[in-house]
Amino acid sequence: MIWRGLAGIGLAVVGLAVLPWVREALDLPVFLLAFGTLVLTWTALATSWNILSGYSGYFSFGQGGFYGVGLYTTAVLTGRHEWNFLATVPLAGLVAAVLGLLVGIVAFRLRTLSGEVFALLTLAVPFIVAPIARLNPSIDGGQGITVPVPEIPEPLNGFQDLSFLLSLAIAAIAVVVAYVAQRTRLGWGLFAIRDAEGVAEGLGVPTFRSKMVAIAITAGIAGMAGSVGAIQVGYVTVEGTFNLQVPLFVIVMSVLGGRLHWLGPAVGALFIVTLRDRLATSGFEGSSLIVLGAILVVFVVLAPEGLVPRMRRRLVPVLVTVAGVVALLVVTGLRQDPVDWLALGLLAGAVVAFLPGIRRRASGEVEPVGPPVAEGEPAEGEPAEGEPTEGEPTADEPAAAPGVLPAEATEATDATASQRGPTREPIVVATDLTKQFGGVRALHGVSLTVAEGELIGLVGPNGSGKTTLVNLLSGLLRPSSGSISVGGVDIVGLPPHRIAHAAVARTYQIPRPFASMTVRDNVAIAIMFGRSPTDLESARAAAEEHLALVGLAHLADALPGEINLHERQLLEMARALATRPRVLLLDEALAGLNPVEVDNAVGVVRRIHASGVAIVLVEHLLRVVNQLATRIVVLDHGRILAEGDPASVMSDPEVIRAYLGRRAAGRSEPAYEQRGLADA
């Protein structure tokens, strides 16, 4: 699958690489190589930018800085120290990558980093780098550097051959990396970061490392493109190098082509370079920026997913149109200029892609643009359509009948799932946890042990510290004091993705799915980044099993935006299960559901428990907790108020008072008859 794509890219690269040798036979001008160099250099710049900014959503204005640093590396080494030009190319990439890592270390360490702040941080990069170059006489010193014409290695004919092949190589690296990333853990980690960074981290995605790798790739490739830029201009100056040209054009190109597809920026670069060339040479120079500006406005507002996803949806008509127009122009000789052929062919193809027409997909006009659903992938195991969403799928479990279960059923389930008693092995041991927010103490000396096979109901009034406790156990927050160990290993201070690998998974009160991925891929992500890393294909297959467990198999190809709240909550559970946790923290997973949905969810929780996963269930519905829990822990004002088996805890007057106040405490009616005691 991935190899087929790589073979395709390889074929295209080889096809282009022979151009310098067949050019004369085909009677094509040298200019075409210069033009190709421009397209390829911009392809490299835009594609590499997109690996960071398109995939992960962290918009960078730093591309000009990285390009400039690479350009200056080559200029200084060849112009002042007589290095061989080719030797400076990888070095330029390296220097730029180091700068990228520096920016990353500063920016990505920041807990409160937002996308806009990152964009502006990178905007400052050229403003800081440029004066340093200008002040330092061994770099520039203000006078600029002449870049000598490089020696042309043997089989090549001239300068344009060299710069064409070099930029082809760099563009190929960029495109291959972008392609491979889109099909492997690196890219999927970045997509997950774009959609919901905190969730991704909690599912085991090493977010910091992913972003650092991405920014190093982005900067390194831009730096190598800078080398080609250096020999193209021949004379570099600070003012001509560190301007807004590069960062702004890579953005325009990626937006036009499509930011979520590996080929998008390359197509965008081809379009924009072609269009600029046509506008610059046509006597319409006064309208060049107006046309580019209009493209940006129209596409961002009306077609934010860009050209490539649109073209792919009508791949055959588009390709036929492009080829047809080009062939027509070549054969009839209406136009002599190869760039004209290209320009008109591309524009016609784009028009076809945007023609209003029959919708291919009945539901969801907008195809999941991000991580592409594997081409023409059949939705395996999809049940008959029209089945009600709350229908019970894969009924391999007899116990989970809908309806309110009698209290005895709790005992029965527990008996099948685990053995009671002190022999059970503790998995999570939290000792004396305290969490302070400013002057407010949210938790105060709480100790909790979760043992194998347990299903702990964590209850308490609003503000009693339930969610804080879950956040501490999942590593989202760090305790002010106290210790937490999982399987005997201390996890305090570990990043959440490491805790996920230590077998603690969680769901969020408000479901936070990865919006651009299908339901199946939401689960697959968690498998890919689990304890034993998996590739995309097998993760997708394995995801089916988890979806079946929660009863979502029939919605595997839907987007999260297309399913209802209940289904999204089930998706949260499936995704958490996919990390293969030993302990699952369910944070109000049933909030906002109607009674039928609650019953369905109860069944799902039972099945998860029965599969051998210990569960901590934070829930307001005492009815549910009482049904499910093997043990109940009541929190009040950050302390444990009571702990024990459901029946005894629920009749504890202290508990009733904490919940219902003094008046209710006198009543004999069990508290758990009340629904939604604390306001949600």
């Binding site: 421009l38 006078q143 600029g144 610059a280 190869p338 028009v351």
Partner: protein
């Protein structure tokens, strides 16, 4: 709604498609929408031109001369002057018989002031558009990028505005504006020579320098070569004290503190190696501090804004190769008068704020003359022959007389550049004495 969302980008693209179709049309049929299309078609009568009618109308296939200019972007401020000068030259050339008896067309592309665009566009002109001849773009970095392409294809490239002789290493590059082979030595010395004729020559200076590629080396000499001095070293050598050396970044916006440093040093003369509007900005900032240096010189300023300062800039000095001063025009004759007047009216028509035919336009004119002279001397469009002819025969020019090109000096001829001064609200040539239109005024 959905349909709308679908079709709007499509409609926009369709519009561009139509637009591109028409745009492409202009490139292939006539070289550009610029001067060339206004040039008379072969065989037709010359348009109403003030040019002296002479020779037979040109016949045959047009000779196409290609170049780029920064018609948009930051360099466009000055490139507009070169566009008008070039258009005028081509029209006059055609009116007086063309080149080698053939009409001439100018194919002008826009490099958008982006250095990276220039090389590929010259590659395009030479190998795709198949132009017969090329001429350089505007501004030093762009000219160097174009020179690379010219050298690769063996094309002769006259150029108007790159004066940094050491960088211009291609043997068939011919400068139309020369500060000699060592501008950083020539420039300060010429200025100090001129200033020495004053009753009270300055004994101290402050140097204010744009820390960019086309100005910094005049102040500091060549960074790589300590034996190649610039303004600072030459001033010391001549016994003039340098009170302060103030560099500033290109695009500088805050002039107050720099003005203050200058005022604080209180020199006899401020030497500002500047570009564009920077001098005008500094003068205003100094005026705000109520400080006016006795003498002030700017290297490459935009001439209009300085005149706009009125009395505050009176006596300001700069360099010039030609000023449309009455006595200078008289000395050059009627043809020059016609050129100067036509240029002015066309620049006004184009809406340019400053319309005088001065250094930029003169250099442009000279570059075109060098190209035409080379072709006529070679008697063909063979690039090597043109290059050789220029090296052996030189070129006759309207504003600089006969030029000779020595490859050992990168073809930079001995400079005849003068010094101009703002006197009574106008730029006047004041140095050297043999071409001066008025006397250099002291403080």
């Amino acid at each position: 709604m959905q349909r709308q969302r679908h079709s709007a980008p499509g409609a926009a693209l369709a519009f561009i498609l139509v637009f591109a179709l028409s745009a492409c049309g202009t490139t292939t049929t006539s070289p550009s929408s610029d001067a060339a299309s206004e040039a008379p078609p072969p065989g037709s009568e010359a348009p109403e031109s003030q040019a002296p009618a002479s020779a037979a109308a040109p016949t045959g296939d047009p000779i196409v001369i290609g170049s780029t200019l920064s018609l948009t972007g930051p360099f466009a401020a000055t490139a507009g002057l070169h566009q008008i000068a070039g258009e005028m030259f081509v029209e006059r050339l055609n009116a007086s018989g063309g080149l080698l008896g053939r009409p001439v067309e100018w194919q002008l592309l826009d490099d958008e002031s982006v250095q990276e665009n220039v090389g590929p566009l010259y590659d395009r002109l030479i190998t795709q558009e198949g132009v017969d001849l090329i001429i350089g773009p505007y501004a030093t970095p762009n000219i160097i990028a174009a020179m690379g392409a010219a050298e690769r294809h063996g094309y002769v490239m006259p150029q108007h505005t790159a004066v940094h002789a050491l960088l211009m290493t291609y043997e068939c590059q011919f400068p139309a504006w020369s500060l000699g082979p060592e501008p950083n030595v020539f420039m300060p010395n010429e200025l100090f020579d001129a200033l020495e004729t004053l009753d009270n020559p300055p004994e101290s200076i402050v140097a204010v320098t744009n820390a960019g590629g086309s100005t910094d080396f005049i102040t500091r000499g060549l960074a790589d070569d300590p034996d190649d001095p610039g303004l600072l070293a030459i001033a010391e050598e001549r016994g003039i004290e340098v009170l302060a050396d103030i560099p500033y970044p290109p695009g500088n916006a805050e002039w107050g503190p720099i003005a203050q440093q200058v005022a604080d040093a209180n020199p006899d003369a401020v030497i500002m190696n500047s570009l564009g509007i920077e001098s005008a900005s500094l003068i205003e900032a100094m005026e705000q501090l109520d400080y006016r240096p006795p003498i002030m010189f700017s290297l490459f300023p935009a001439p209009g804004p300085l005149l706009g300062l009125g009395e505050a800039a009176d006596g300001h000095l700069s360099v010039s190769v030609f000023e449309p001063n009455e006595s200078l025009i008289d000395a050059k004759g009627d043809e020059v008068r016609a050129i100067v007047e036509e240029f002015q009216s066309r620049a006004e028509e184009a809406g340019l704020p400053y319309t005088a035919f001065e250094t930029q336009a003169t250099s442009s004119w000279t570059a075109w003359e060098i190209l035409a002279a080379g072709v006529e001397a070679a008697g063909s469009l063979d690039q090597e022959a043109i290059c050789d002819a220029l090296h052996t025969d030189g070129a006759d020019t309207t504003f600089h007389g006969h030029l000779t090109f020595d490859p050992d000096d990168n073809n930079f001829w001995p400079s005849d550049q003068g010094i101009k001064q703002i006197q009574d609200g106008d730029w006047v040539m004041v140095w050297p004495e043999d071409i001066a239109a008025a006397e250099l005024r002291g403080p």
